[in-house]
Symmetry: C2
Subunit: 351 residues, 2 copies
């Protein structure tokens, strides 16, 4: 049975996609997550169900102490498959969290800008996301929240190593900061390969919208720090912000050049994407992402007077299987879902 | 310099595409051409310029004798390249006709339903075309015209062999009858290969819209008789009409089956074609033909309330290079033409 809170979540717009932020023509969102663990408890991977539930009780009680009353709390064992997929598609929870039978949960603010997974890889995975490019603001938000939480919790912390984490790759700050960039200009002008190679050489990771293996669907790229050790949080954020600033600049110049030298090609690609989404009757999620990406590009170039990029941003999430089926009813297979996806797209673009 | 008559021709709609005819949902047009030669003159291939001009004078004088005053007469040596392409794209004249330096010409009725090439492969190539599937009516029309013409001309005719023609493949009746069929149902349901194989086994020829080598662009197929000898004209037409009737029936059933069993696929293909034509900025003639074909299919299935198939029929001709450049001005290369073609399509579909 579905958790009724999921329906409440679905009624809200997704704050970090629907609202405005700095450089939003290129930067979709800025995200930071902190890995934290409790002193004297095994990492979740070495816990039995009882120990997991003990951790959960401790964290939940700290959360209830200082929270706004409208935060939502989900327990993994009370979610059905569709609920889990909704949370995954909204990037609130991971598949690893759902692999736990007991003691795993999720807290989120109603605008989904701040959230907390309990007993994922670490006891706590705190996440903050804001629209656009504003990593410092995200860090301020998550740091304040982390401070409040830590008042009621005994974090596992070593004065030399920093925060102790299940995986050594998170040791130290326990922080992963990332910015989701929309780079159609660099892709269409065939510069993306070289640019990303440079980013990786500087020891930043680049992944697709749904993490490892999701390629460059929708011309969306998440750029994040690789190392968590040997630098302070502000240093990591400054280094990442510098490279993001450069990428935004490259993308801006690529768009200007395309418009100056290959405007017909750009209009053609954007127009065809719009024509497809507006009149198709079967649509895979990959084609939907790629077409939405081009429309987002077109909106930025002023090709569409009546559309705004926040609607397109939200569609990046709403075209996914669980969201589609919540909106239109369950279907049997991927092909039937492609029919629903096309219907939603036609309705949205005509509206 | 362009012949001013070409502009007059362009003002008219193309009768055999713009008007209604029997079975027009599947049969675009019915066409018959007769090859005739004058007694005592070499075939054009063996004529010098003077002889060609003598033939032309004889034919022109016979034409002027009995014609409606609004027929147009074009002299090949007074046409520029664009004029020639216009006549070719409207299927009034062939490239072979244009290869003659002197003595070659074309007569056409203003609705283009009846026309005559002078000194193409034969001294006279008479053509009649009507919309839809009505070969008997076309034959009546061309036969009456041929009778009128022959009153003033001495045709090369042998009581055993029939009409003498330059190429032995036209000997006898000198007649080639064809029907242009639109067969998207058989193509989309992958039945076209087998069906056309059967047609060819019965000794009929199948070609694309612009003759040999134009494949099945736009899902358009011309089916015509191969042999001109050993049967009377009505016998050839009856045999061809029988097979065309069967093909129309197969296509109807294929469309019904597609709509019953794969309607989403059909809507999707048609919708995408419409979306492309309505919003693209670069369009090759091949893609234009194929997309128009799907829209024609959609119109027949009632998917478009405000479009009619005659507009689509005419676009099959108007998307071609010379017609495009007459409408929008000369351009430098095929890529610039693709931009014009897309513009015309957007304007037509929005109108």
């Amino acid at each position: 049975m579905s958790d009724p809170l999921i329906d409440k979540l679905l009624e809200n717009s997704i704050g970090w996609l629907a609202d405005s932020g700095p450089d939003e023509d290129i930067a979709i969102s800025s995200r930071i997550r902190l890995a934290r663990n409790l002193n004297g408890c095994n990492f979740p991977i070495n816990c039995d169900d009882e120990q997991l539930e003990t951790v959960e009780t401790i964290v939940d009680s700290a959360m209830r102490g200082g929270l706004e009353p409208d935060w939502m709390n989900f327990k993994v064992d009370r979610l059905d498959d569709s609920d889990k997929m909704i949370l995954f598609e909204r990037r609130l929870a991971s598949k690893e969290l759902f692999s736990r039978k007991r003691g795993a949960g999720l807290w989120t603010s109603p605008d989904e800008r701040l959230s907390l997974m309990v007993n994922e890889e670490d006891h706590l995975r705190i996440q903050s996301v804001l629209p656009g490019f504003q990593l410092e603001k995200v860090y301020e938000t998550i740091d304040r929240f982390d401070d409040e939480l830590s008042a009621g919790l005994d974090y596992a912390f070593d004065s030399t190593l920093g925060y102790l984490t299940c995986c050594p790759s998170n040791l130290g700050t326990g922080m992963r900061a990332s910015v989701m960039l929309h780079l159609p200009g660099l892709v269409l002008s065939n510069q993306i390969g070289g640019v990303l190679q440079g980013v990786r050489k500087l020891n930043f990771a680049v992944r697709g919208i749904f993490g490892e293996g999701s390629d460059n669907r929708g011309n969306l790229f998440q750029v994040s720090n690789q190392s968590t050790l040997g630098e302070s949080e502000p240093e990591i954020i400054e280094r990442l912000s510098n490279i993001i600033g450069k990428l935004i600049d490259y993308e801006k110049r690529a768009r200007q050049r395309l418009l100056a030298k290959q405007s017909q090609m750009v209009f053609d690609r954007v127009g065809r994407a719009y024509g497809t989404l507006r009149y198709c009757y079967m649509l895979s999620s990959e084609e939907a992402l790629n077409s939405l990406s081009l429309i987002r590009f077109g909106v930025d170039m002023g090709m569409f007077s009546s559309m705004d990029i926040h609607m397109v941003n939200e569609l990046f999430v709403r075209i996914n299987p669980a969201h589609l089926q919540r909106a239109y009813g369950a279907v049997e297979d991927a092909q039937a879902r492609d029919v629903l996806r096309a219907r939603m797209m036609r309705e949205r673009l005509r509206g």
